[in-house]
Amino acid sequence: MKSRIIPLLLAGALFATPAFAQEGPGQQKADGYRFVLVPKVVHPWFDKVNQGAQQAAAAIEAQSGSKVEIQYSAPQSASVAEQNEIIERAISTRPDGLIVDLLDPSGNRSVLEEAAEQGIPVTLFDSINPEGMSLTTVGSDFCEQANMAANRLIELLGGEGKVAIMMGVPTAPNHAERARCAQATFDAHDGIEVVATGVDNDDINTAQQQASAIMQANPDLDGWVAADAAGPVGIGQAIKEAGKVGEVQLVGLDDLNQMLVLIQEGVADSSSASRPTMQGYWSVINMWQQATGALTPNHIDTGNVMITPDNVESFMQ
């Protein structure tokens, strides 16, 4: 009996050895991965992030043979408490990774710590790290994006005029940072006066109402910039309604299809866009690389681009 067991154990050990061998960075492989993507809220901008994530999943499968499933799970409203609940529920499904756009780093911190406790890696996109955490972030420089828009508007106005800023969700750090940077850029130019600031909570209808009211109160307004993707779409509609196309300049933000149409129609001059599809793509690639054991960078900069009538066609889908 003993003579049969020993060779069996030896054979088992032989076959088991590769499983226990130390694999170098990026060499671990699995048949499949499941990543959960949690955006701030249900919103067309995040649909583009999801598209990029799905593209990356297909690319990984094509290149490595490993199947990647992206589970898109979005809060119905931009509430930190609701987003935390979605993240917690996602953790309980034991995914191979979480890809999250934080609504508020301080408010989301506790669930990110829970994910770490449960051994689930996290990649952040379009967000900054909560204080003291060092998760990989994927996204662009919000301040640079806002400055690009503000400088373009200043150039359009010849360095003189009255302008307004549309904030998105005041509690969203990226929206707040864009608004702050646009304000600082305008403040640095003596000829530019910021006469109003609207809050649209990243909602097109609210943006339209706010923009209409601000233009009523400031009939000599010369131009607009926005800190969120929904804002310029609502502003563009308000400009059209007021019959002020060409009279009030609009430099938009991001590349929602409605924004691109406004540029084509000549309602908006241009849009300073981050690249949501690329953010989704590189978030999944980063998550996959972490799963293979590779070390990943602190930040992946997906950059910003100025969409103008000359290049708008290339962004249309």
Binding site: A81, S92, S106, G107, P170
Partner: protein, 319 residues
């Protein structure tokens, strides 16, 4: 045996909602290996704790035939006031916590007084008051969360006892208090009398307005408690706290057998209703349902749950 069980089902008004909850839990546990894990049960309990406190408050108002749509806004505003008192004013956390509960009760009292003195429908008035409290919240915060909440109150939101979250235990304590008030005290009997027929209750010598104002104040207190527990949970006072506490608790109370017309139902039934909604929201994410389908699926399951409850009740009564 079956006859005795059916008798129990007929006599116990909660049997239908408990049966529906049991069916949903059974189906979820069969379809998802992640559902019955201790971590998942813990997050369901924690989620139920916050929405549960508002549901208890709303169910007590609904027994009176009233509604308060500003409870979420009161919770959020009290959370922000708590953050300001602790971080910017520098009050000891426990004092700030207690003050906020009193402020919440005061806001509820104001709602109750406006409803009773102006004879306004509570539904309309509290929609307006939600705007007032929500607006004041934004005035104070400018939409920016207050961070640096002292860690000494953190365990109230993040701690656990016997494997369950502290907020869940707190919710259970207040469920017991609310159940005792409604079912075992003269005040509770007055609540049902006012909800069934306010003019008749007045003729019987019940101080209808006092009962209404008292329940509104208690509801404000519970909303503030939920808001402060959420502040402890998040470690920051978010202006968005309470935004999602408006319709869910009303739906939960209706599912749990508390109609908006008043006079019947219990806070315990409402909590079972909240548990049904909480479990449904949990399994929607567990099953990876697209966010664009979530509201539809969640709403359809709620309608199905109410229908099953009503049909089974009718069937057992006939039997």
């Amino acid at each position: 045996m079956l006859r005795r069980m059916m008798g129990f089902m007929v006599l116990n008004p909660l049997s239908g909602v408990i049966a529906v909850l049991a069916i949903i839990v059974l189906v979820a546990s069969l379809l998802s290996p992640n559902f019955l894990t201790s971590y998942n049960m813990m997050i369901i309990a924690r989620s139920l704790a916050f929405i549960g406190l508002i549901t208890i408050a709303q169910s007590m108002l609904m027994i009176l035939g009233e509604l308060d749509l500003s409870l979420g806004a009161i919770g959020g505003f009290c959370g922000v006031i708590g953050g300001i008192l602790m971080v910017q004013v520098g009050l000891p956390p426990w004092l700030a916590f207690a003050l906020c509960l009193l402020i919440g009760a005061l806001f509820g009292l104001v709602n109750g007084l406006l409803v009773t003195l102006l004879r306004l429908p509570s539904l309309v008035l509290t929609i307006g008051m939600a705007g007032v409290y929500g607006g004041l919240n934004l005035v104070l915060t400018r939409g920016v969360a207050i961070t640096g909440i002292p860690s000494s109150i953190g365990f109230l939101g993040t701690g656990r006892w016997l494997g369950l979250p502290i907020p869940f235990w707190i919710m259970l304590v207040f469920l017991a208090i609310a159940s005792f008030i409604t079912l075992k005290t003269p005040f509770g009997r007055y609540m049902y009398a006012v909800g069934s027929n306010a003019p008749a209750a007045r003729m019987l010598g019940i101080h209808v307005d006092r009962v209404r104002v008292g329940v509104f104040a208690f509801a404000g207190f519970l909303a503030a408690l939920a808001g402060m527990l959420m502040v402890a949970r998040l470690g920051s006072a978010q202006p968005s706290i309470g935004d999602s506490w408006v319709l869910g608790p009303i739906a939960a109370a209706v599912i749990g057998g508390v109609p908006t017309t008043g006079g019947i139902g219990t806070p315990l039934g409402a909590i079972f209703g909240a548990a049904i909604i909480g479990v449904i929201e949990n399994i929607i994410v567990l099953f990876g349902i697209s966010p664009y389908w979530q509201s539809m699926v969640s709403g359809a399951i709620v309608v199905l749950a109410i229908s099953l409850d009503a049909i089974s009740r009718r069937y057992f009564k006939r039997e």
